[in-house]
């Protein structure tokens, strides 16, 4: 039998991997991967809590909104990455300093 804790452990593991990527990686694409992982971990939590603790589908509704927002966010980030690559020939975020004062 699968308990709520099992789902939370999976989502916690996914979140930890995403946080590891955010801290370690300097490649902009890998940072995008990490952010998507964090969002997915949160979504798993929403659905799991909804299944175990709440009789209506409110959590599922919130996750639908979250997925749609994440899609828009990914589109903008990827456009920025492409532009940064064309301008700097590089996607190492520690090299992108043109906004630095």
């Amino acid at each position: 039998m699968i308990t709520l804790t099992d789902y939370l452990v999976v989502s916690g593991a996914l979140f930890a991997v995403g946080a590891y990527g955010l801290v370690t990686k300097r490649n902009a694409m890998r940072l995008v991967f990490s952010v998507e992982m964090l969002i997915n971990a949160a979504n798993i939590n929403f659905i799991a809590f909804n299944r175990y603790l709440w009789p209506e589908a409110l959590g599922q509704t919130i996750v639908l909104f979250s997925i749609a927002l994440a899609a828009g966010e990914a589109a903008v980030i990827l456009a920025v990455v492409v532009v940064a690559y064309r301008l700097h020939e590089d996607v190492d975020v520690s090299e992108l300093r043109s906004l630095e004062g």
Partner: protein, 169 residues
């Protein structure tokens, strides 16, 4: 007692976490993008196990079908030798692993301390027909706003690409 659901759950969990790790650690970033797609797919499987089929299918169409493909296209569009390089300092990696471990341990301790988690699964799954009512009635303004945000995101992405094209007549 082990039944089919447990096996599927373990398999999906392995796909989710393994795909995430390979997304970050694969040497070629293209393979990383494919690992990320597998991870998204595993999350959709977990949604199916949690009796949320509508959200699961939405996850597959949007994440696996759109976002993962978008990421794959971007990776291939700007593919070059320097692109693959992943600056890895051992101290940076140590800090990253430490962050992940501390986060995971603190989350596990919080789970263990919570009495909420001992509640049993509800007898009936929340029906996804309720989603329609939420979206159409209670959260209709949020839906409208979401449409505006998505339109703005698409316009912004197009503007970014267009400015770039003007540089190269």
């Amino acid at each position: 007692m082990v039944d089919l659901t447990d096996i599927v759950f373990v398999g999906m969990s392995v796909v989710v976490v393994g795909g995430a790790i390979s997304a970050l650690e694969a040497r070629e970033i293209v393979y990383g993008a494919i690992g990320l797609a597998f991870s998204f797919f595993g999350v959709a499987g977990l949604f199916f196990l949690l009796d949320a089929p509508f959200v699961a299918v939405f996850q597959i169409t949007v994440y696996v079908g759109a976002v993962a493909v978008l990421i794959l296209f971007t990776v291939m569009l700007v593919r070059e030798g320097r692109w693959m390089r992943d600056s890895l300092s051992s101290t940076g990696r140590l800090v990253g692993v430490l962050t992940a471990v501390v986060l995971a341990v603190s989350l596990a301790l919080a789970f263990a301390a919570s009495s909420l988690l001992k509640t049993a699964e509800q007898a009936t799954a929340p029906s996804f027909t309720g989603i329609g009512q939420y979206i159409a009635v209670q959260y209709a303004p949020a839906l409208e706003l979401l449409g505006l945000v998505l339109a703005a995101a698409i316009l912004g992405a197009m503007m970014l690409a267009k400015v770039e094209r003007k540089d190269k007549p």
